[in-house]
């Protein structure tokens, strides 16, 4: 969680030497690689999450990574398996039990989340040897990322992105207007299930870097920012990836130099971007109102 052992490196404003210093540590190189993969995958998945207004489901799936990791450690497996098993399982449960009313769905999601988090707490209580207690799993650590983990991340990320590329067009249609899409023969329900599973896989990935509580930041904030900035799907998707990438790498750099958690830096940088985007939009709205007949500003993609 902290980087106290490396003897407090200092920022010299000479970017080249700074990065050379930072990347002379293999764990930092791995962290940057893993961060890049995670940023791209979660930004793309998160873009659809924001579009589909499934933020709560995304948060629940990401929270579930905690009992997954704790349970796997308790049973003697690597945490990675726990992440993937439980994230995908929770995505399937939410997908399977959907279709009640709006409020039933939210009660259900909330209950699933709280119960699984409580189970995670039980597991950590039973398994005392857990690295630093629940805090590491919840808030993440980037110091122990191995090269083989980076490979696994890349492979899973590539699969998630490939499936998303395949279903991207119909999924976009089904997200924007489910009724019309259904009428045109798009399998809306099946797409929704596939998407939730992808969400589970992407979450399980990202959990290992940012901690289960903060994955969600990488998914939602960059995508929300991008969708505030532009209404054009392709452009905002690219923007979301760029923003997530920037937040992760800047966060890693900051966490290297200051002894505070990576998750804090990543969420703060991403959130600052979001606030700037909101500020820009309201500024343009004010300016647009003073000039009569000005073109409508880019509002959100879907009102």
């Amino acid at each position: 969680m902290l980087l106290a052992e490396t003897g407090a490196p200092t920022w010299s404003w000479n970017l080249l030497t700074d990065f050379q210093d930072m990347w002379s540590y293999p764990f930092m190189v791995n962290a940057f690689r893993a961060g890049a993969v995670v940023a791209v995958v979660s930004a793309v998945v998160g873009w659809f999450v924001v579009l589909r207004r499934q933020t709560f489901a995304a948060h629940t799936v990401s929270a579930v990574a905690f009992p997954g990791a704790a349970g796997a450690l308790l049973l003697g497996f690597s945490a990675v398996y726990g992440y993937f098993t439980l994230c995908v399982a929770a995505a399937l449960v939410i997908a399977a039990l959907r279709g009640g009313g709006e409020h039933e769905e939210s009660a259900l999601t909330g209950t699933v989340q709280a119960f699984l988090l409580a189970s995670g707490f039980l597991f950590t209580a039973l398994y005392r040897g857990l690295l630093e207690g629940p805090q590491t799993i919840l808030f993440g650590t980037f110091l122990g990322i191995t090269s083989s983990q980076v490979t696994v991340l890349t492979v899973v990320g590539a699969v998630v992105l490939a499936v998303l590329a395949l279903i991207g067009r119909p999924l976009l249609f089904a997200s924007v207007d489910p009724q019309v899409a259904g009428g045109r023969g798009v399998p809306v329900r099946a797409l929704s299930v596939v998407f939730l599973v992808l969400l589970g896989a992407a979450t399980a990935e990202a959990s290992q870097i940012t901690g289960t509580l903060l994955v969600f930041a990488l998914m939602v904030i960059p995508a929300a920012t991008a969708q505030v900035l532009t209404a054009r799907p392709a452009l905002s998707l690219a923007l979301a990836v760029l923003l997530a990438f920037a937040a992760t790498w800047l966060g890693l750099t900051a966490a290297y130099y200051w002894p505070y958690p990576l998750g804090f830096f990543v969420t703060t940088i991403a959130f600052a971007g979001y606030l700037l985007a909101l500020g820009r939009r309201s500024l343009r709205e004010v300016l647009g109102r003073t000039r009569a007949g000005a073109a409508p500003t880019a509002k959100e993609v879907i009102a």
């Binding site: 409020h103 009660a107 707490f121 808030f139 903060l214 939602v220 002894p259 969420t267 703060t268 991403a270």
Partner: protein, 289 residues
Amino acid sequence: MTVLLATSPLSHPFFLHAFLAGTAIAVACGLVGYFLVLRAQVFTGDALSHVAFTGAMAALAFGADLRLGLFAATVAMALLFGTLGRKARPDDVVIGSVFSWILGLGAFFITLYTTSRSTTNGTAGVSVLFGSIFGIASSSAVVAALVAAGVGLLVVLIARPLLFATLDEAVAAARGVPVRLLGYGFLALAGISAAEATQAVGSLLLLGLLAAPAGAAIRVTDRPYRALALSAGLAVLEMWAGLFTSYAVPKMPPSFAIMAAATAVYAATFLIRRPVPRPRTRTAVPTGT
């Protein structure tokens, strides 16, 4: 640990305190939770519970009382969410963005606290996240019970107009119900009960206490007042079941036992087929009991 010398769990002061505080908290959560579910604001409750964590950690990092941070943060955030959303109903993407940042801030404060201040109380973070109902002191138990009773009373007082405003906002506004004010007031109450419940079940788990009893009650009955009462009653029973189970099985943390009971009851309601597949409560009119 104490199971061997138990005659009755209630003879132990720590259990009595937990029982007292827990019962009051369960009533408040059951009542507030019913409206959260009905207004489809469970996500707001979720966000409030995470904010509670950051508030508590910030208070600890600055050397203030933990409860001060809990209440200040949750109520402030509840009002902020009310302001951000149209008609005091915030958009979920906004909530998501705000509260994931707040959580990151919590991680920051917990580091600040563990590196600078705490030498003795290093597990404060974990007990805020997951609750420590068996560690409640007698004075805090009484305060918790009083606050929770106050919240419960206020919810019952505004139940009628709030139901009206929830089920048919436009008509309620036309009839002169202060919809927006009610929205704010309700969010503030939700914030207070979130702060209160954090001490019992922890900020990560209190969502279960808000969502599960209410979800179960709504599945069992379509009648608003009956469901409201049922939600509170179920929450209390689940709290008791959790406390006694955890007392009997000391390895099981009380928070887990309470969540397990709540989830089991909610899951059981899925086995009940409702007699007539009528349109959902959304179309029902609050006609009293």
